[in-house]
Amino acid sequence: MNIIEVQNLTKNYGKSRGINNLNLQIAEGDFFGFIGPNGAGKSTTIRTLLGLVAPSGGQAKIMGYDIVRENRKILEQTGYLPSEINFYSGMKVSDVIKYSANLRKAKCSDKAGMLCDRLGLDTSKKVDELSLGNRKKVGIVCAVQHSPKLLILDEPTSGLDPLMQHEFFNILKEENKAGATVFFSSHVLSEVQNYCRTAAFIKDGKIIMSDKVSNLAETGTRKITLKGNATDVERFLADESDELKGKISNVSKMDGAQGSASVSGESASGESLNSFSQSGVSSNNMNCSFLYNGDISSLLKKLAELKLYDLTITEPSLEEIFMNYYE
């Protein structure tokens, strides 16, 4: 059963931002990553689902409730962490957490205390004195303390140090195990790859891809890393033959000796690449990596013509697939 069902949801905000005929399904119990660059419409989607802004078109249901008419019923069983969270100045952390629980008519001080301990949050401090990371922690406690059925988190890890991010995801995993659906937006792909079961990519207000994370990573695309004679490699990358044309992307070249310069671009024959590769000419060798999406044996035939010292073929990371989608 789907806990979130979005059909042709549209929100116009004048010219820019907003979402356009967005369709999205999230299964109950899923751990869902919502990926996109800044301004793609992640926050707008979330804010529309939560009823903070009214949709201009389309419809959406959460737990079977309509997001416009039955907003309150949805919010009762949802925990939300905004990307930029602020609290009432002058209040203590413990007061904010209590206020949030009271607004939900929830008795959950035990769980709140446990969460504060795990996140290392000092509840006697005033919220005004908190850093972004610590404000986030307060937000996490407020979102999780009542054990909601659905957790919606908008860029939850920004401002948290790596240790806290780890603890935070542990908390999310436990909530997920206990039956909660987790839906979070991010532009950090590694966290989506590490924790999510399903992911969707959003670009310019539209979902461009939605699938299991394992499927997304298991495309036919392979990442090729090679080290070889610079002139050979340049010639190979500039090759316009049928076997290679349009199948190579995300080229990144490094000077073999220094190994520091790199550049990525869609087309292997782009001008920027040619001019950039000058830095790698000093040595006669060069390192190069790219994504290849085509027949492996014809690639190998082509590669056999080059003078190579090293070659690896690996599965690309989600990050690299992501770059592929947005270029």
């Binding site: 009823g51 903070l52 009214a54 309150r72 919010l75 939300y80 602020n86 609290f87």
Partner: protein
Amino acid sequence: MNILKHEIKQQKIPLLIWSLSIGALVAMCVLMYPDMKSQMNGVNDMFSSMGNFTEAFGMDELNFGTLIGYYGVEGGNMLGIGGAFFAAIIAISALMKEEKERTAEFLLTHPVSRKRVITEKLIATFCIIVIMNVIVLLCSIGSILAIKEDVFWKELILFHLAYLLMQFEIAGICFGISAFLRKAGVGIGIGVAGLMYLLNIVANISEDAKPLKYITPFGYTESSDIINNVEINVDYLIPGMIIMVAGIVVAYVKYIRKDISA
């Protein structure tokens, strides 16, 4: 009632400062009365012979030589200006401040309907205004007792009730405006209060401008009417209360549908 309690707590310090300031000013006026009284004959003549200025502040129909008359003008001015500004500031920020201070996302993603948020905030605004007026009234009674004068209960209560309703009306208007604002707006509130005060002065000076009394809430706080007739002028009060309700209705209509800015 969580939001209601929270709102009052949030405004605790401004509430105390305003109440005690206005209370102290009113009390000071009353405490100065014994000194004034001894020189009052001259003062009364002077105040009642300043032409338009006299009429503007309603001093032509009041006897400055009595505490009631004196209180009607001096106390009325303090409570009128102070109370109107305070009511305007509290009401204009009631809904607006959630977006201004970026707490709206926190509040409105809790399972509380917008209608409920508006209602509790409205009640909180009125409660805060009532508390302020009670404190001022207590200051006033205390100071009258302190100078060993008789408390003119009926007029005093009616007088303060009229000023309370005046503040409610200003609050109602500003509450309506508050629903439209996102960032700043306290200046708008003060502007509304100041404008209303000026309209009343204009109406007092010029016969042609008399109809303005139906618009400005200061029309029914005219001390001379309250003290001489021992009643609030209902002709001015009713339109005022209609304006107040209109402001509140506008707030509901607007805020229930409002897109909350990030």
